[in-house]
Amino acid sequence: MIGTVLRIGWINLKRDRAAQGLTFVLPIVFFSIFALILGNQGRRPTARIRIALANEDDSDFSRRVSQALQAQPALRVRTSVKVGDRETPIDRGRAEAMVRRGDVTAAVILPSGLGEAVSRAEAEGPTIRLLSDASDPIAGPVLQGLVQKAVMEAAPDLMVKRGLAQLERYAGALTAAQRSAIDRWRPAPAAPGASGRGPDERIERSAFGIGIESAAVFGNQANSPIAFYAAGIGVMFLLFSCAGAGGSLLEEVESGTLERLLSCRLTMRGLLAGKWLFLTLMGVAQTAIMFTWGALVFDLELRKHIPGFLVMTVVTAGAAGAFGLTLAAASRSRAQLSAISTILILTMSALGGSMFPRFLMGETMQRIGLVTFNAWALDGYLKVFWRNAALWELWPQLLVLALLTALFLGSARLLARRWETI
């Protein structure tokens, strides 16, 4: 009997081009759009900050700072603009105009006399000026930090000299022994490009010897956004597809087919079991197709994670299928199902992290998100694709999804009693 219900679902899907498009093509389209826009095709997780650099000083110090800024991987630096047929160096006025027009996010002005003031270790004198677009709250502070880093890396000797001058000014002159010790320790001028210039660098040492070591402890950083959006979009569309396909139950009620089905040897329990199995298989196929697309087009690392992916997909699809059946059994009509499912799924997807990563939300919102189906499913997928988790480490997510499946199926069975003997 269950096999016959499966066959009905399969033939209906096979003949319904619109349902095929909504189930298999639309998720791929949405995923691709998200991956292209937000994932930056998986090659640059975060876009570089575009800045204009106006070097009015033309000193050794300003040139070193300029080179250090251009070597920063987080920045895309423009030092000249095309005027007519000629490349013209950017000055203060052009830099400000470029920020106003939105050509760049911020501008750095190295004013005239900067290098001389630094070399004389003067406390007073010209300062580096940052011009930024106030509508971008991130770019300004980030740029400020990067400029300070560039200055320290470009001229550590001058910075130490400047610091000592300030010390002597307020604390008194150094003794001959102290000055000799400092001269032995004082760093030599840094060659441009010697440090902090590439993503592969692991240890950065400041002029004062305090090192910061960075290392990737899990995941392929280039693939992470793609894996996240594949899981997020996949789970959201899984819910939409299952809710839509679960509506076949309502079509059968409205056409009188359910009456005929239940007049046969088929019981309501068998009918629901068959439909749930069909929805689960459809969901597995839908998710597998989308992740395969991600692997082929966006270099998603699917092959390395197949066992975890399959386990998560089967359990998630099963829970989504049960969810779809519950919604259908709770609805009075197809139109009502459509309205309820749209509101519910969009809300769950927003809270559960399908649209915006939960790990970027506040702690309270992260906890609230755990009441949704999406959060547990996404946590499981991210464990697989980001953290390379072993299968057994997925048990909390699998347990919750299995419990949700049982809860949804039980609810659907109770709600469907109204179509049984009255």
């Binding site: 209906n12 005929r260 007049s263």
Partner: protein, 333 residues
């Protein structure tokens, strides 16, 4: 045919009605295959069935008539086990209908065209055949039989949504009989179909009856019920208000009187005694208990009164007359 039906019986005792070799046709006709006794069902404050009793004998075709809301569909749903009675008992071959065993011996043709529109006619027959317990060679044979009987063999591989309304109705019937049930329940099987499809549907029913199938037909088509059903049950307000053959119903309700209508060539100044006249006095009417004995004197009286008879009509009360007499002219919806 009967052996096919008996094959699916799940209880230990094979229904005696399904053993044709042991009984002659006369005996079979007296076997009650479906028995409804004192069926009562209320939905809230609305009483749908109020003590309904009906017996269906083997090979019999009963017409179940009644205005909308009279309880016909509720009765059919109760027989299929889809409505739980508040009181009363329904037995199929002596077994309560609740449960899948007895239900396998029922064929149900609902009022709606309850098939899958994206599946072909053949696929629909296959899935409903499987859901009725058929498989393998039996299933293939029965599907071919149903397609042939419903005249859909040539269109069997087209999705149902491409078929005409009449074809869908025939398929609706075919899906209900694909497992060749000994008892068939039909709810308005010919609603909205053309005369050709209607004729084919009744041919199918006649063929099934010839094989011993017992049929309960709920319908609003009074002429069809009059022509095809050997017994008629009229329901109203959840009760059986009349039951029997058409002649018995006429006797029970209108009596044996026949309506006589005389059309005159010229109007009379005064209608003869015992006759009523239309305002123009061109048409005279009366009722006669014994047409053979009473009609000649009646015509003589008209001629003696100066009337010249142009046309004469003697009408037997129809099922329509009986139905209206029993259920009234008041609209129900």
């Amino acid at each position: 045919m009967l052996s096919v039906a008996a094959r699916g019986w799940t209880d230990d005792a094979t229904p005696p009605a399904l053993q044709p070799d042991s009984r002659n046709l006369e005996q079979q006709a007296s076997v009650i295959v479906l028995s409804v006794r004192g069926a009562c069902k209320a939905f809230g404050f609305v009483t749908a069935l109020h003590g309904v009793s009906v017996d269906l004998r083997q090979g019999e075709l009963i017409g179940l008539l009644g205005p909308n809301g009279a309880g016909k569909t509720t009765l059919i749903r109760a027989i299929t086990g889809r409505v739980a009675l508040d009181a009363g008992r329904i037995e199929l071959f002596g077994h309560p209908v609740a449960g899948a065993g007895p239900r396998a011996h029922l064929g149900v043709v609902p009022q709606d065209v309850a098939v899958y529109p994206l599946l072909t006619a053949r696929e629909n027959l296959e899935v409903f055949g499987r859901l009725q317990g058929l498989a393998g060679a039996d299933l293939r044979r029965q599907v071919e039989w149903a397609l042939e009987r419903s005249g859909l063999t040539d269109r069997s591989r087209e999705p149902v949504q491409n078929l005409s309304g009449g074809m869908r109705r025939r398929l609706n019937l075919a899906c209900g009989v694909v497992h060749r049930p000994p008892v068939l329940l039909l709810d308005e099987p010919t609603a909205g179909v053309d005369p050709q499809s209607r004729e084919r549907i009744y041919e199918m029913l006649a063929a099934l009856r010839a094989e011993g199938t017992s049929i309960l037909l709920a319908t609003h088509q009074l002429e069809e019920a009059e022509a095809r059903c050997e017994r008629i049950v009229i329901l109203d307000h959840g009760q059986v208000v009349a039951s029997g053959s058409l002649e018995e119903l006429v006797d029970q309700t209108l009596g044996r009187r026949r309506l006589v209508t005389i059309t005159l060539a010229e109007p009379l100044a005064e209608p003869p005694p015992g006759l009523s006249a239309d305002p123009g006095h061109l048409t005279l009417r009366t009722q006669l208990r014994d047409v053979v004995a009473e009609l000649p004197p009646l015509l003589r009286r008209v001629e003696e009164g100066g009337g010249r008879v142009q046309d004469l009509e003697v009408r037997t009360p129809s099922l329509q007359s009986v139905f209206i007499h029993l259920t009234g002219r008041e609209l129900r919806e």
